[in-house]
């Protein structure tokens, strides 16, 4: 039972004196609860690996404190933190069998033999490694090896947290789905705090209870997959999550109405106290914009992507590109068309940060 507390943890690599401090991770303050699965999601260089390395003890943060429950672990070496980690590439002990690999972390901690055997059997069954238990690890395929690494990460029942550093990179796409849902099932079965680093949003959204979206060293939003999808707190989250990303337009907002270019649209909430300076934008997910023959606002259709299950229209609204869904009933689409935007799905952003509206 461990809760991880980040008390203004930040990390900057040493820079020239007097120069502006260049943070790899900007001050981060949050509490992660036991039993939940967290995903750190963001593009390369966003600071997610830095955050993971701070938790694992590979990096000592230059500022702030890291607590496991009430214990300050900021400066403790990895082996004293009671964590497990699964790396990007399979790390297996070549000369050992699969069973010996799984038992290794327990044997080193002098667990009784019988307890080791039962735990190894349990984990092997969860990961479907039972048939391979007696085989040497080195002869196995990359994804079997990665399953062993996963198993070694999960085998200790008392760990504070299990860290995953993009563990499915080497896995065949077809098997990825299987392993991902397996991990989800394992998480439910084992009741551990899991932390999963990835740049793949599907992976993060299917695996995690809470997704931490990171950009330029900052945690931009922490929330459930639904929250990230429905109410992105930052335009970056809107762009980064969802495929294709959210549509944004520069707009003027007054009360419950927004003016995009020369067209007025209705909003789902009222915004009476918006700051006068800075940049105002309204955003909407493509999923809530539909192409229509009449009503809504006029757009120029640039091209239609047929994805089989659905069709996406790339259109231009007053020169600003946007993506809309094409209803199944719509057959012929001319260069001039119109789009309908669900008012309650239109969100308002001031300097890239979402503004909470007042319910109408």
């Amino acid at each position: 039972m461990t809760r991880i507390t980040f008390d203004n943890v930040a990390h900057a690599y040493p820079s020239a004196p007097g120069a502006k401090v260049d943070y790899a991770l900007k001050p981060f303050r949050h509490v992660w609860e036991h039993g939940l699965a967290y995903a750190l999601l963001g593009p390369s260089g966003c600071g997610k690996t830095t955050l993971l390395n701070i938790i694992s003890g590979l990096i000592i943060p230059s500022e702030g404190r890291l607590m496991f429950d009430d214990r300050d672990v900021t400066r403790l070496p990895t082996e004293q933190r009671n964590i497990a980690q699964v790396f990007q590439f399979p790390v297996v002990y070549d000369t050992m069998t699969v069973a010996e690999n799984l038992a290794f972390p327990l044997r080193n901690r002098k667990m009784p033999k019988a307890a080791i055997a039962s735990r190894v059997t349990e984990i092997a069954a969860l990961l479907e490694l039972t048939a391979d238990l007696k085989r040497r690890a080195r002869g196995l395929t990359a994804d079997a090896k990665q399953k062993i690494s996963l198993g070694r990460g999960l085998v200790r029942a008392d760990v504070s947290a299990v860290l995953f550093d993009e563990p499915l990179t080497v896995i065949d796409p077809a098997l990825k789905w299987e392993l991902r849902s397996k991990l989800k099932a394992v998480h439910r079965a084992l009741d551990l705090l899991m932390i999963y680093v990835t740049h793949d949003q599907t992976e993060a959204l299917t695996f995690a209870d809470r997704v931490v979206v990171m950009n330029e060293g900052r945690a931009v939003q922490i929330g459930t997959p639904e929250e990230l999808f429905e109410r992105p707190d930052h335009t970056f989250v809107g762009y980064f999550i969802g495929s294709p990303g959210m549509n944004f337009f520069p707009a003027k907002v007054s009360g419950a109405r927004a003016v995009i270019g020369e067209h007025e649209v209705a909003l789902g909430a009222a915004y009476p106290d918006l700051p006068v300076d800075g940049m105002l934008q309204v955003g909407i997910r493509p999923d809530f914009v539909t192409l229509a023959q009449s009503g809504g606002v006029p757009v120029q259709v640039k091209k239609i992507d047929d994805l089989g299950r659905k069709r996406l229209a790339h259109v231009s609204l007053g020169g600003v590109p946007m993506v809309a869904m094409v209803p199944d009933s719509m057959q012929s689409i001319g260069p001039e068309s119109r789009v309908l935007m669900a008012p309650e799905r239109l969100l308002v952003y001031h300097n890239d940060v979402r503004v909470e509206g007042m319910a109408l």
């Binding site: 590439f89 002990y93 070549d94 000369t95 290794f104 972390p105």
Partner: protein, 296 residues
């Protein structure tokens, strides 16, 4: 036709190599084979001797046989001692070397220096080094009251030759092992730390298995070279005292050149060559089989 274009121009590229190999390897070896089945009384007159030289050398009761097997045993003893020491020391030192920073280059250069010295120069260095009157090594040991004398004591001679070879060639094992160690990704060490592995366990379960391939190469190279050692013992001990450090190569030169016994020398060098070939082949086969069995 299977659609492949047959183009005989390839032969133009292969022929020069074949010619070169013919003159550099095949002809010299055939000359030796030719000598090994003949006897000569000098004056360039040869007569047929069949396999008599070979039978004589391999007969444990003949004088030549006793002499040959003595040198063979000494050579094996030397090779096994020197190579074992070099491999153990080489791995140990490689593990102690820094992994990054400016000190890597500095220590590698210092370590590699002995390898750059020619064999007979190494012999000369150690010949002077081991003298009990002016040599640092010899004088120090004598000063400590040890009965150390390369020209009189077989044990002293052996120790000197083995230490000399270890000094000369451990660097090769160090460099190969170091390269092997550097190739192990950091994640392995971190995983082992998280798994709670001890230092010894990291060595046994991570480092040694990953070094397996470079060590096979290192042992093969070192065995071949040490089994052919010649210049150093000739300079330091001259094969003595008595026959104590007369290895196969030294005896071969004595027979073929000193005693102008070309036929016996040729037969001996062929057997010598076949021994090295066989040992290397057997060693390599066993090691690769072992690895394949582990994979299976």
């Amino acid at each position: 036709m299977n659609g492949k274009t047959w183009n005989n121009r390839a032969w133009f590229f292969v022929l020069p190599v074949l010619c070169f190999v013919l003159f550099s390897a095949v002809l010299p070896v055939m000359t030796v084979v030719n000598y090994s089945v003949q006897d000569t009384m000098g004056a360039n007159s040869f007569f047929w001797n069949g396999d008599a030289w070979f039978r004589d050398l391999l007969d444990p009761n003949s004088d030549a046989g006793v002499r040959f097997s003595g040198a063979l045993v000494r050579t094996f003893a030397f090779s096994i001692t020197a190579v074992s020491l070099e491999v153990v020391l080489g791995i140990a030192i490689a593990l102690c070397l820094p992994r990054k920073g400016w000190s890597v280059g500095a220590s590698l250069i210092v370590i590699a220096l002995p390898m750059l010295i020619p064999w007979n120069v190494v012999g000369t260095i150690w010949q002077i080094f081991s003298r009990s009157d002016i040599g640092l090594f010899g004088a120090a040991l004598t000063g400590m009251g040890l009965n150390y004398n390369v020209t009189q004591e077989p044990v002293s001679a052996w120790v000197t030759i083995v230490v000399l070879d270890v000094w000369h060639w451990t660097p090769l094992v160090i460099l190969l092992s170091y390269a092997g160690l550097q190739a192990i990704p950091d994640a392995y060490y971190q995983a082992a730390r998280i798994d709670g592995a001890s230092r010894w366990s990291v060595f046994k379960n991570v480092e040694l298995p990953k070094l397996h391939k470079v060590l096979v190469i290192a042992i093969l190279l070192r065995f071949m070279q040490s089994f052919m050692i010649y210049a150093e013992p000739v300079v330091v001990t001259g094969g003595g005292p008595g026959n104590a450090t007369t290895f196969l190569s030294i005896d071969l030169v004595k027979i073929a050149i000193g005693e102008v016994d070309v036929g016996r020398g040729a037969a001996m060098s062929l057997i010598y060559y076949l021994i090295i070939l066989t040992v290397c082949y057997v060693f390599y086969t066993i090691m690769t089989q072992l690895e394949r069995r582990r994979d299976g």
